[in-house]
Symmetry: D2
Subunit: 348 residues, 4 copies
């Protein structure tokens, strides 16, 4: 940690700060500069919890922390990419994983139709919401356990592993029972009770970035899960809020290389929620792969005009198949095949 003194701090104030640092058991290194003195601290084994004792001393301008507040997710202590397996699907390896399915499970027929279509087009995992967090209490909230049962049934038919969202600790056990991977949604990214419970469940977790979360916040949220002993976490960029309302959210693809630098965890992209409009899903899916994402999660609906949720951003199966072709071409261009695809699939 570095203590920055005010420009006009006098010797007595500097000495008092050094004395306080010594009293806390650390070593102070005063460095006089042209306009002010800075004081380095060494000797601490972790974050300095008593920072406020220093920060409020007279003459102290600011404290600057040098150590990142997360550890288990950091690439600094775990250089190699983590590989997270969900059944026979692996995130974080060379392959690009495509998860697809409806926003919400509406019926057996709807889910099965979509699942078979996305499988045919090359998806290797199925998504579908049984519990939906909705901004308005009057919007459709999902089928609940019936939705989970339908997911399991369609998995049995198609062989696609399933990911579905747990929206609270009450329903988490049920979701854990049915799902191959637990999704924690953007609104719950800082729901610590849920993060901890997911961390104890040992089921792989798909953790979506909150729409006002910094990359650091996202890594700290993942740290909660790993800290409970579950290191099977896949991160997901899905768009942040900005001043521009041209799109529903601003997809922050710059977060992909940033996360890759800072962490060993895999990171995928949700191009559907950010776009908010199906016509923009394809370019953003291609861009995600080009930016280095390990996969994506995409909404597909057989008849989006009648979808109970997010119809505007869902692709019809034909459009999804076009997307898969394009994604496979970009993936090939960056030297990463789409999981489950055969080289001969990649053609114009």
């Amino acid at each position: 940690m570095l203590i920055v003194m005010e420009a006009l701090a006098d010797d007595e104030q500097i000495e008092r700060v050094c004395a306080e640092v010594a009293e806390l058991g650390y070593t102070a290194h005063p460095m006089p500069g042209p306009t002010r003195t800075a004081i380095g601290i060494t000797g601490n084994r972790g974050p300095i919890l008593e920072a406020a004792r220093i920060e409020r001393l007279p003459g102290v301008h600011a404290l600057i922390r040098v150590t990142a507040p997360y550890k288990l997710v950091s690439r600094e202590f775990h250089e190699a990419n983590s590989h997270i397996a969900v059944q026979d699907v692996t995130f974080g390896g060379t392959d690009i994983v495509v998860i697809a399915g409806p926003c919400t499970v509406e019926s057996r027929e709807q889910l099965l139709t979509v699942a078979q279509a996305v499988k045919a087009a090359g998806a290797t995992m199925l998504r579908g919401g049984a519990y939906k967090p909705r901004t308005s209490p009057y919007a459709f909230q999902g089928l609940g356990e019936e939705g989970l049962r339908l997911l399991a049934e369609v998995r049995a038919i198609t062989g696609l592993p399933i990911v579905t969202e747990a929206i609270d600790t009450e329903t988490l056990p049920l979701v854990t029972e049915y799902a191959d991977m637990i999704q924690i949604g953007a609104r719950n990214m800082q729901n610590y009770a849920l993060l901890k419970a997911a961390g104890r469940s040992q089921r792989p977790v798909l953790l979506k970035r909150g729409f006002a979360a910094t990359v650091k916040d996202l890594l700290l949220a993942a740290e909660y899960v790993l800290n409970e002993g579950n290191s099977n976490v896949v991160l997901c960029e899905r768009g942040i809020r900005s001043f521009d309302d041209t799109a529903r959210f601003t997809l922050d693809l710059g977060a992909i290389p940033a996360i890759k630098e800072l962490s060993h965890l895999p990171v995928i992209v949700d191009p559907s929620h950010a776009a908010g409009d199906w016509e923009r899903v394809l370019p953003m899916a291609r861009a995600a792969v080009a930016a280095g994402a390990d996969g994506m999660i995409v909404e597909v609906h057989p008849n989006p005009a009648f979808a109970l949720c997010d119809g505007q951003q869902s692709l019809v199966p034909e459009r999804f198949a076009t997307m898969m072709t394009q994604v496979a071409q970009v993936a090939a261009a960056v030297g990463r095949p789409v999981a489950g695809s055969h080289p001969s699939d990649i053609q114009k």
Copy 2:
């Protein structure tokens, strides 16, 4: 709802949209304009849930919704200010309510010292966290039930009603048992399970705005609570995230008159979290009252340098007393006494 057609939409496309509107049981009102046609819809009794059926028709540029998505919290159907009582404290009336106390309950002595000091200075409610949502899993997470017990004990001694945060549905029953008012924090503003459970509890709720929530999102979150039958909700502005990192959060005091226009619920301000620095708490507390807030919630600690949480933004009791004097003067200037104060208190 208004359907905006593309500039180049042809008659056939316009007719098809009108036909779809009719099939949904509503009436279409095409309005040709210089560059494009707009189509008004009437005959709906609430939000048009089938919007996606229209939005995806060829030639449709955009849909514009006219009706606000919240109802119970809206001033349009409830013109008078709501008065929310917490024991003998009333939010939303003429009086400005000041809630004060430590960020976190640390010990009996700490809590009692602060409670007696803030009471002496004029606060009429006590705050203190027993469960703390922390961005880092390694930060102090609160005393739990022991903290609740200490709050109840200090309430018995001082007579101050208490507000404390419930961070998940598991601990909500316990919080409800001890607290006079349940706080739902910024990170949980869209934790719908928690909002619904709080809605069923009948205990007054202090709902803090998420740091990436629009005013509309906040009102929709409150709608969740009211929709379960609990109309005792007080809103709290506590700062939003913006591109500027000069302060910890950007306190959005413009939200106060905006909420007052849109809703009948009381709204208070938390100047401590936004400022992130005790020196800026006083000006923001004064400004909150001047902007029309119904009260405030402020962090006070007897020895902030040793606080286990948020020491940098906590006021010492003497400073809090100064704040109360200033707040009372501004409150008098806007014709609203501070709750519990006597006119003779307001002097230079």
Copy 3:
């Protein structure tokens, strides 16, 4: 335009609004709804300038404009992509155009070295700042006309057309004299005097998005240039400000498909300024092409550690060559060759 009345507006208020609309020479179409009345306006030939006369009438809740405020840049009245020629380089066609060069012209040797290196790697235009807008008055402000002369000299040697920034109307004539394309930077995107002067110059303009400008603001800024008779405008996404400081700016690649929908103008991407770090330039350059950008502008420096400006985000020539290979592969994957490249260049 649509007038939304308050829920409790009475018949008299509605009639008064309709009378005002009629007095302005337009036709009012009242549409009663379940909670409120909306009133459509037709008969206007452009934006309704007298909107405030309606907006302030009693009972009016809000006005909603249906027509986009820009016209010349809009795709609605100009369906085909515009092709903008700068010497023998064309923006907006099938080819991806890569502009490269140093942030700032520092010396003849530096500029020539970079120009020859980027040409060898496949760039077809040269960038380099002679006038630099700097946030701090103490930062290096550019070589001025000497820089322009060096650019012209290096153009003569290499054959690469040049783009350089005009930072004010005083220096614009000089920039116009030397440059093949005038860059208007992010900080000047709403410098209307400069936009108009560039509009009168007939020289192609590279207009960068302001870091707090919405897509609509960018299109309106371009409208200023076109409105003066210069339709040779290329737009450039270069990152916006958001709450996250992980990168220098948040590159908004979602703006690419959005601009393509709304406008016929070409749009390129600046991956260097947003990344703020050379390691992240490559993934963002690839992603830009995958998202549908018509080209990019990239900073290259022979010895970035000694660059007078933005060294941290500049690529060394070898790294730039790697970038070109990767960009060419992604470009091929989306069916768009890099301008000037030969098919045989695209290999692993």
Copy 4:
């Protein structure tokens, strides 16, 4: 400056960094820590311009600058508040200065009516735009020199000093000739040519914060003006862009105490542009004074429904008089009279 090394940086890398620091003529202070080494630099007399040489060395994680990049505007080297005189009006003293007038000068009658009304209500300076920067090229752009002449004429009649905006360097000389104070608007806050020209003019400058500018950016923009020898700068907070569209801009009143801490320059608030709606102007004007602002600039129009610009946010003269009464009461509560007012004016 502090150099933060990567956790895995080895001794050789650390030594190489220290050698580079020494070669630059500074002293390196390595401080080994539990997870990484940090290296302090001393011996520099100002910002280290060669930072990129260090930043790109192997093993360097980040550089942290300790010294603020502005100097002349900083309170660290100029402890007392600056007092800026515009004729007999003084900004930065005890008095709250209220500037009022129409958004745009439309006619002699309009301007004179407003000027007399605002003077009667207690304003001591007159505002009015002759040149208007407008987002759309089709919006009214101001009367130009005719507007300046009318301002001068109305000043002669009323005695109110005038502030009006200069939008480019071409018109600055004319504005300087007529106006008592030059306004530089939000869109031009980083128009450095204009800032420098205003700095050379010696006329007091009202510098508005850009809507995407941090407080630091604003101070650096002011530094441009002071660096040219003109220290008569008054800053103005007028709202920033955020994700919330409830108001036109998010008025950042927390910037007031922040600027007061960092700088000796006076700071006022524009509550009209941020609110975007006249009903919210009053609460924000009161809050600005309570937050510590040195004054405000407010839009007033005799018939806002017919204003050529920003009618929706303009106050009618009666409403402005009410505002002045309220502002005077809040000002009295914080111990600061409104300039030009007599104590006897402050009554309910």
